[in-house]
């Protein structure tokens, strides 16, 4: 039953794909080998300093994943690092250099920060939390952790830190190799992750958290899990640090160290992984060599460079190198487009008699201003209901109330018999609601294919290691793509698309969710006549053919007349008419409203 669309039949040979996954592994292997030999060549000082720099670079990778990819600016990685380091030092002080001691230290150094990460994640991310709030929390965490360390007395060594505990029986070169191995591995895993389909979800979170939620992804859970997972990695780095340096101090957990990590990542180039790794190692090594020569000037130079980079070169030095690189006439590969494959939608459960959407006495007010009042509405499978009314009638507000149960409203909204009050958008998507926004809401830095794949994530999942070679979409979504020509534009980032193409893409994404109820806020705004016809055809096919219900906010009455099975008129927050196309379009009331309303 799978049908491959010839239009999308861009053949991407599988061997090259395997190479794309294999290449980083080979590079990582070479890097690991080079670093394995390095201690034989370098002097003790360099080996010692670079060991620490590489451990810090592991932290830089975690900061880059959080900030550069997922858009969470964090100063808190230092706290997780410190917790890992202190857990190690405290356990090794108590248990000594026994296998059980090391095992317990390693386990705690990973588990304790992960748990703390969960708590911090819970504090930082909730429905409608702001990125700024998350950043400020990430600033509070290290402060609290350091205060606890100070107050810890003998057990934490207070301000003096802990020293003299037993460590792994390795020589200086051994620690260097261990740190190098961990750094290469962490970087490699991060590299594979961000280039995988799951990695796209991180970028999607950064680009457009709301769209993620309206694709049924739970942004909160993703952010919390990411925070906890990377806290665990930071804890592992802390374990390494405590062993390699033989000492832990409060400043290892402090927010100043946290800001330093951000500075290194920014200078190296956020969102590039290699930039932060190399930036951290270079800056830390340089600092070690310059210590004593220009203590105050060093900070001044670093601070100035940081401000300038942030303003003029947000991509950091990696961006600069990248630009130079691109000038060179060396062939660059673009991501190959996946094969588009039609996916047969699960058969719709036969009508149970329960309306898909049931709204009872819905009302909403902003302060003293009543926006919606006494709305009653029922929509059943296969209906295409157009919502019309002048600007300010409350159409978009109504759409919002139907798709976000956390909007403060009174009355009841039920999707397929389930009340949505208090449910976040992603849960409502789970009930079978797809929403297309008035202003096209897509992921600006992702490709068209990636956007569509994210829309399929609730159904098909996302690979955390690679890029799937096929992209299975419901026929209706394929139709949208084909009719708008997007099937030939799967690889460029969506920010390069035209306004109409973005609208079409968003529609395709919503359709790809296979919703039972689809909410469309002016899907044809800014589209050409031909594109409108296309969308009309798709909608008709969806509703009459597949039994989906649709609510359409639309100004274009001709379009409405063509495709609607029912029309609802909203005026000054009240539902004033609800009937067949003929009844509504012919009514006196609509003519009055529209002649006063002044638009079409």
């Amino acid at each position: 039953m799978l049908e491959t669309l010839p239009a999308a039949g861009r053949i991407a040979p599988p061997p090259r794909r395997r190479l794309a996954v294999a290449a980083p592994c080979v590079v990582a292997g070479l890097a690991a080998m080079a670093l394995w030999i390095a201690p034989a060549v370098l002097d003790t000082f360099a080996v010692n300093v670079l060991t620490r720099s590489m451990i810090y670079a592991v932290l830089a990778v975690t900061v880059d994943l959080l900030w550069g990819f997922a858009g969470i600016l964090t100063f808190g990685q230092a706290a997780f690092f410190g917790v890992g380091a202190y857990a190690t030092a405290m356990i090794l002080t108590a248990l000594g250099a026994t296998p059980a001691g090391f095992a317990a230290a390693l386990a705690t150094a990973i588990a304790a920060p992960a748990l703390l990460g969960l708590v911090v994640g819970w504090l930082s991310f909730y429905h409608r939390s702001t990125p700024l709030y998350a950043s400020v929390i990430s600033l509070v965490v290290p402060i609290v952790v350091v205060q606890l360390i100070y107050a810890g007395g003998e057990s934490t060594g207070s301000s003096s830190g802990l020293v003299g505990f037993d460590v792994l029986p390795l020589e200086i070169a051994g620690y260097f190799r261990l740190a190098a191995l961990v750094l290469v591995l962490v970087t490699l895993v991060a590299w594979i992750l961000v280039r995988s389909d799951a990695g796209r979800a991180l970028v999607a979170l950064r680009d457009n958290e709301a769209r993620c939620a309206y694709l049924g992804l739970n942004p909160r859970r993703l952010q919390i899990l990411l925070t906890a997972a990377l806290a665990a990695v930071a804890g592992l780095a802390g374990f390494l640090f405590a062993n390699a340096s033989g000492v832990v101090a409060p400043e290892n957990a402090g927010f100043l160290f946290g800001t330093e990590l951000v500075i290194w990542v920014a200078l190296g180039g956020r969102g590039t992984l290699l930039g932060p790794v190399l930036g951290t190692i270079a800056i830390d090594y340089l600092a070690a060599n310059l210590s004593g020569d220009l203590p105050f000037l060093w900070q001044l130079l670093l601070g100035t460079a940081f401000v300038i980079i942030i303003i003029l070169l947000p991509g950091g030095l990696a961006d600069l190198v990248g630009r130079l690189w691109r000038v060179l006439p060396i062939g660059r590969r673009t991501r190959a487009a996946p094969h588009l494959v039609a996916r047969v939608a699960a058969p719709e459960a036969a009508g149970t008699g329960v309306p898909i959407l049931k709204v009872e006495n819905l009302a909403k007010a902003y302060g003293a201003l009543t926006v919606l009042e006494g709305i009653d509405l029922e929509i059943r499978a296969g209906e295409l209901v157009s919502l019309v009314g002048p600007n300010g009638a409350g159409k978009t507000t109504l759409m919002r109330c139907l798709s976000d149960g956390t909007e403060p409203f009174t009355g009841a909204v039920a999707i397929g018999g389930t009340a949505i009050t208090g449910l976040t958008p992603n849960r409502i998507v789970g009930l079978g609601v797809g929403r297309k926004f008035q202003v096209a809401s897509v992921f600006e830095s992702l490709s068209v294919a990636d956007c569509l794949r994210l829309a399929r994530a609730p159904h098909d999942g996302l690979s955390p290691v690679g890029q799937a070679e096929t992209l299975g979409l419901p026929q209706a979504a394929l139709d949208v793509l084909r009719m708008t020509g997007l099937d030939h534009l799967l690889t460029p980032p969506t920010r390069l698309l035209s306004h109409g193409q973005k609208q079409a893409l968003e529609l395709a994404m919503v359709v790809a969710l296979e919703p039972r109820l689809i909410l469309l806020d002016e899907p044809t705004a800014g589209l050409t006549k031909a594109e409108r016809t296309t969308i009309g055809t798709v909608l008709k096919a969806l509703t009459t053919g597949r039994g989906i219900a649709a609510v359409l906010v639309e100004h274009d009455l001709d379009f409405v007349r063509e495709i609607s099975s029912r029309i609802v008129v909203l005026h000054q927050g009240r539902l004033v008419l609800d009937g067949t196309v003929e009844a509504v379009v012919g009514s006196e009331l609509v003519r009055t409203i529209y002649s006063g309303g002044a638009h079409g």
């Binding site: 000082f45 340096s245 203590p295």
Partner: protein, 391 residues
């Protein structure tokens, strides 16, 4: 111009041996200088006091080199910034030990920085003379300390207050190892000598609002107040707020030095401090030392203090130990260090088997003009049991 002499009896007694050894050493020892590493907080919290420490080290080296050096070799200094913290100290110690390949480390540092450097000292097998007063009980076979610990600093203060009739005390400090260590010892000493501690309160090091603690102090109505904050900013902040609240109790500040007292202005008037060095020590060695500092640094001079003078003396202690050991070999120097002594601005200093030094302590009181009046001298106060395991 060097008018200051080594009077160490041991050194003199062993002079003959030294000479004999010097002959063999001279063959091995090339003209390469003996390098002294100074990891110190040129930036960060210690940057206020660090220049004075470096200055006194420079004077010691200049004096020794002018007299022909040590075993015929010149002394040289390598200074590295530790940013007053653990991470910086790791870099500074690594740089000095592995890159500059120093023969010895002699410096004052925060406890965190000292601890952070100790693993490198052990691995790199260099002797380390720690020249900062601290909370005590830091033990490492490579490390010696020629500055005071609570056992030496606190008794003069408490004894003086007791003599004035104080029975009840209130203790305020910064929440860190030194603050807690000092006040913890103070509390036990007060109780041992029959006094009573009415309250012991701490604020985090970067805390800036002492209001609640000061109100508690006022309600407790003690006879005397003893504070031990972090140096510099917290000390000034607490003193300003104490004075602002009208606290006029007998007040001893265990973290106060002469320089900080000056920046407090009138707020420091009448405050007691306890130190192993104050500029007003009336001894020929101190006067000579001050004159030499003044001559060498002139307008650039940073007032010598309880952190810079131990550095100066520690370099002479190291010189004596190297001469006794007949070279800079670490094991021999470490063996020699507890057997030599020098007489410097603070008097005769000899470190003991537990790697700490009995010291003469001075009780001082800040005057209106910011100078310190010596109100009492306590000869050779013992550091007590610091590192019994090292013996």
């Amino acid at each position: 111009m060097v008018k200051w002499s080594l009077l160490g009896a041991t050194t003199l007694a062993l002079g003959a041996t030294t000479l004999a050894l010097a002959a063999t050493a001279a063959q091995a020892a090339d003209s390469k200088p003996i390098v002294i590493g100074i990891p110190i907080g040129l930036s960060g919290a210690n940057s206020v006091v660090a220049p004075s420490v470096v200055q006194s080290a420079e004077l010691a080296v200049e004096e020794i080199n002018a007299k022909g050096g040590v075993l015929g070799r010149k002394l040289a200094l390598e200074v590295a910034d530790d940013a007053s913290g653990a991470a910086g100290a790791q870099k500074a110690f690594d740089s000095l030990i592995y890159q500059k390949k120093v023969d010895v480390l002699i410096s004052m540092e925060t406890s965190a920085a000292r601890n952070a450097g100790l693993p490198a000292v052990t691995k790199g097998k260099v002797p380390y003379i720690y020249t900062s007063f601290y909370e005590g009980h830091s033990c490492n076979k490579n490390m010696f300390v020629d500055a005071w610990v609570p056992e030496q600093q606190v008794p003069p203060v408490v004894d003086a207050f007791k003599a004035k009739g104080a029975k009840t005390y209130f203790l305020i400090g910064s929440d860190y190892a030194f603050g807690r260590g000092m006040l913890g010892f103070t509390k036990s000493y007060v109780e041992k000598t029959g006094g009573k501690v009415l309250g012991e309160e701490y604020l985090p090091m970067d805390g800036s609002d002492w209001t609640a603690i000061i109100s508690k102090l006022k309600e407790a109505k003690p006879d005397a107040l003893i504070t031990s904050t972090a140096g510099g900013a917290p000390n000034v902040t607490l003193t300003k707020q104490l004075r602002g609240a009208g606290v006029a109790l007998p007040f001893a500040n265990l973290a106060l030095d002469e320089g900080t007292a000056k920046s407090m202005g009138a707020d420091a008037d009448g405050v007691y401090l306890s130190a192993s060095y104050v500029t007003g020590i009336d001894s020929p060695e101190n006067k000579t030392f001050l004159a030499a500092m003044q001559k060498k640094f002139g307008a650039e001079l940073r007032t010598p203090n309880d952190l810079s003078v131990p550095e100066y003396e520690a370099i002479y202690l190291y010189k004596a130990a190297v001469e006794k050991a007949g070279g800079t070999e670490t094991a021999k120097v470490l063996e020699a260090l507890p057997t030599v002594s020098v007489t410097g601005p603070r008097g005769t200093i000899r470190m003991n088997k537990q790697h700490h030094a009995p010291l003469t302590m001075y009780l001082g009181q800040i005057q209106k003009d910011g100078t310190v009046k010596v109100a009492g001298t306590f000869k050779d106060v013992d550091p007590g049991e610091q590192c019994p395991k090292l013996q």
